[in-house]
Symmetry: none
Subunit: 72 residues, 3 copies
């Protein structure tokens, strides 16, 4: 006798895996800004503008995964 | 004879995987603030404001996973 | 008796795995620009133009995965 009552969607696991690298990547970018601020505080503006470009293109991969989780 | 009584939802596993990277990422960001404060304590205010921006966008990926676990 | 109510698509998991390396790679590129800006702020323009070339070819791998998730 086997009683398997497993529900849920594979898309949720897909979104979960898709958050791993963007979360680490965005954290990496902002950690670099923080380390750069500690080294040279007057360059923080230039570093933040670079960080926001990188944040946008990296976080987009996770945002796309949200959309794909509903579409696929 | 095999007795399998496995229940549960794949969405729970999905949320669990989705916490891995945001937790490490937010820890990374604040650890960078701590290291930067140890190197240059007068820049702590600028580093903390950077850290809160990074914290918000990284932690959001895990919060979205909570909502998706109910929807999917 | 087995009650399996698992929905979703394996293509979603495929896209999720396909985001891991591009997200980390693009984050690496922009983190390098930020570190370079902290070391030598006047070279930021040259570093950004290099970063955009690297960003385009690395991010393309994840964008292709979006298309393949619908086609396959």
């Amino acid at each position: 006798m086997s009683l398997l009552e497993i529900t849920g969607s594979l898309n949720m696991i897909g979104y979960a895996i898709a958050t791993i690298a963007p979360a680490l990547g965005v954290a990496w970018i902002f950690a670099s800004v923080i380390n750069g601020t500690a080294r040279q505080p007057e360059a923080r503006g230039a570093m933040m503008s670079t960080a926001f470009i990188g944040f946008a293109v990296v976080e987009a991969l996770a945002i796309i995964a949200i959309a794909l989780a509903f579409v696929l």
